[in-house]
């Protein structure tokens, strides 16, 4: 869990002391007992925002940090009839990478169409209320195409990219 403060106001020291002593612990307690990922409170030009990483166990396609990246993320949770029409993307040798969440997609900087990928490599992020959910390649292979533009809104399960598995 990380907390951050911005928009510093004058008379900062006393406010910081009060926030640290009362507001932040209270927010942490609330955030912990809730299912929420983020909590924000504004007061007198101050804003306290707390975020916790999305529960790893509950979100297999979403990993908080690179070091704990799931080796075999669930592929294409939404790659069923309604969306992609691809029954078994793995077998076709082409993976449809589906959005792990509802939010805004941005591709990883410098990623190139046709570039080689290893399973678990980062393709981009879906931003959910400021929390970045990773979009990773399900297979070793090559990136064929992005199905959505940078900054585009995506829903859960929406195809984001196509990856061709190496033979």
């Amino acid at each position: 869990m990380s907390d951050e403060m911005d928009e510093p106001a004058q008379d900062g020291r006393a406010t910081i002391a009060r926030l640290t002593a009362h507001v932040v612990p209270d927010l942490i307690a609330r955030l912990t007992k809730s299912e929420l990922g983020e909590l924000e409170v504004r007061e007198n030009g101050w804003r306290v925002r707390l975020r916790k990483p999305v529960a790893e166990a509950a979100a297999p396609a979403t990993t908080p940090t690179a070091s704990t990246r799931t080796p075999h993320p669930v592929m294409a949770p939404g790659a069923h009839a309604g969306h992609s029409g691809v029954g078994a993307p793995r077998d076709s040798g082409r993976g449809v990478v589906a959005s792990p969440a509802v939010g805004y997609f941005s591709p990883r900087k410098g990623i190139e169409i046709g570039g080689a990928l290893r399973s678990g490599d980062l393709l981009g992020h879906v931003d959910v209320l400021g929390v970045r959910h990773e979009v990773v390649s399900p297979v070793n292979g090559a990136l064929r195409a992005f199905e959505v533009e940078s900054g585009q809104a995506v829903e859960y399960g929406q195809p984001i990219a196509r990856v061709e598995a190496e033979a």
């Binding site: 809730s34 299912e35 509802v102």
Partner: protein
């Protein structure tokens, strides 16, 4: 008024909110889980956004997914329906922090009424007789001490949720200790919250509740009471208004005390105050529900007031615009909850394809349901398939129409609790208006049904 509303719920209530928005000329967006892709609400939606997988915790209970969907779709308000996040003050606060409106009481009002014990004390101060109860129980020793103080029999209740899960009536310390473990695990499984409290159990009680509407400016009205005494394992099955167990004077006293207390206590938006009525006609406040309720249509049938549009109007900051004298209640209405439950096998919840669905019709008959022929009932959520709501100019007429409607309705392909409803509308105790909340459990629902079908 809002420019676009996100509907963060499913089933019949998603449809109900969708209809209210359409009527008000507000575009709506249905937030749905993968399991509800083929739902009626999604089919009818102006716009729909998939928010997560079937598992509620990652879809309908995920505050961040719902809020993100609202932002992505450009909504400025979220309607939570009932259940799920509808009474979650932290969610309401989060919605507000992102500049959107939560359609329900504001976060600080939800917070003020979040504690059951605190609410009893608060409304007690404003003149409501309240049921004896405990604070949240710390452990078994605390539970035993509190039960001793309140005096057996007591009812164990979970802090979160409803629907009878995690509830047990106990008559002795021994029963209490055994039931605590079961209740905790049931509450944890259903609500991810295993905090419990105790309430005094009244023998042969009736459950009567009062619908209130209060605007931001302290104007409030009650819209009469509802009687929800037909229950199975603390879960409401049939509700009716007016209560057949109360005189006009009793009803008036109850409803007036309720609206006075909540207005004074600073409540806002739609709410329902639940009471127990004892054998002698005394009423005791038990809890407040800060949301639209499943059984709200019977109140709509009597009053002509659309409670969902009222809820949206008030959340948008509009004044109530009428007073108690303008509210008149006419006739009698009964609601039957049609659930996918196998009455022959301990009311086990059912899932599967509805092969054919034919709703009933006729004067005074309203069917709020998300069913259609070919719809597949997913196994992940509660088992309610719809609500048959029947109005008559008096109780006699409402019952006659109910019998006809229950005979007409067809739900094939999936097992439902319709046999129970069909038996109820011929049962003397129900016809006499003398049902009490534990009657079905005492007789045994199976025995009740057997007796009814044999007769």
């Amino acid at each position: 008024m809002f420019s676009k509303v996100l509907i963060a719920n499913r089933g019949e209530i998603a449809l109900r909110i969708q209809r209210a928005c359409a009527e008000m000329g507000i575009p709506s967006v249905v937030a749905y889980s993968e399991a509800d892709r083929d739902s009626r609400a999604v089919q009818l939606a102006d716009e729909a956004v998939c928010i997560g997988p079937a598992e509620s915790r990652r879809s309908y209970l995920s505050a961040s997914a719902i809020l993100s969907a609202a932002l992505v779709a450009g909504c400025d308000a979220i309607h939570p329906g009932y259940g799920f996040l509808s009474e979650d003050d932290t969610f309401a606060e989060m919605v507000r922090a992102h500049g959107l409106t939560f359609i329900g009481p504001p976060a600080e009002v939800l917070e003020r009424f979040a504690s059951k014990a605190g609410t009893r004390t608060l409304l007690g101060k404003h003149g409501l007789p309240t049921i004896q109860g405990s604070p949240m129980l710390r452990d078994d020793a605390h539970a035993l001490a509190e039960a001793e103080r309140i005096d057996y029999p007591v009812l164990i209740k979970p802090s979160a949720g409803g629907g009878g899960k995690g509830m047990r009536m106990v008559r002795s310390p021994r029963e209490l200790q055994q039931a605590m473990t079961i209740c905790r695990s049931e509450a944890m499984a259903a609500f991810h919250d295993d905090s419990l409290y105790l309430e005094k159990w009244l023998e042969d009680n009736r459950h009567v509740e009062v619908q209130v509407i209060v605007d931001r400016y302290g104007n409030g009205v009650h819209v009469g009471e509802r009687d929800c005494s037909v229950q199975r394992r603390h879960q409401k099955i049939v509700e009716e208004a007016r209560s057949p167990a109360m005189s006009d004077g009793q009803r008036e006293a109850l409803c007036e005390a309720a609206i006075k207390a909540v207005v004074e206590a600073g409540y806002e938006n739609l709410g329902t105050l639940e009471f127990l009525l004892d054998r002698d006609g005394n009423f005791y406040f038990i809890e407040i529900n800060c949301r639209i309720q499943v059984e709200h249509p019977i109140t709509e049938m009597l009053s002509g007031i659309d409670l969902v549009t009222e809820q949206i109007r008030i959340a948008a900051g509009e004044p109530l615009g009428y007073s108690q004298q303008d509210v008149s209640l006419r006739g009698h209405a009964i609601e039957f909850r049609i659930n996918a439950e196998d009455t022959a096998h301990d009311f086990r919840p059912q899932a599967g394809i509805v092969e054919s669905y034919l709703p009933p019709g006729g004067p005074g008959v309203r069917m709020d349901s998300h069913l259609y022929s070919g719809y597949e009932v997913p196994p992940y959520y509660d088992s309610m398939l719809g609500k048959l709501v029947v109005w008559g100019s008096d109780r006699h007429e409402a019952l006659a129409r109910s019998r006809q409607a229950l005979d007409e309705i067809v739900v094939d392909g999936i097992v439902t609790n319709l046999p129970l409803h069909r038996a109820l509308v011929h049962h003397k105790t129900f016809l006499d208006g003398e049902f009490t909340t534990n009657l079905l459990d005492r007789v045994g629902s199976a025995a009740f049904l057997d007796a009814a079908t044999a007769a």
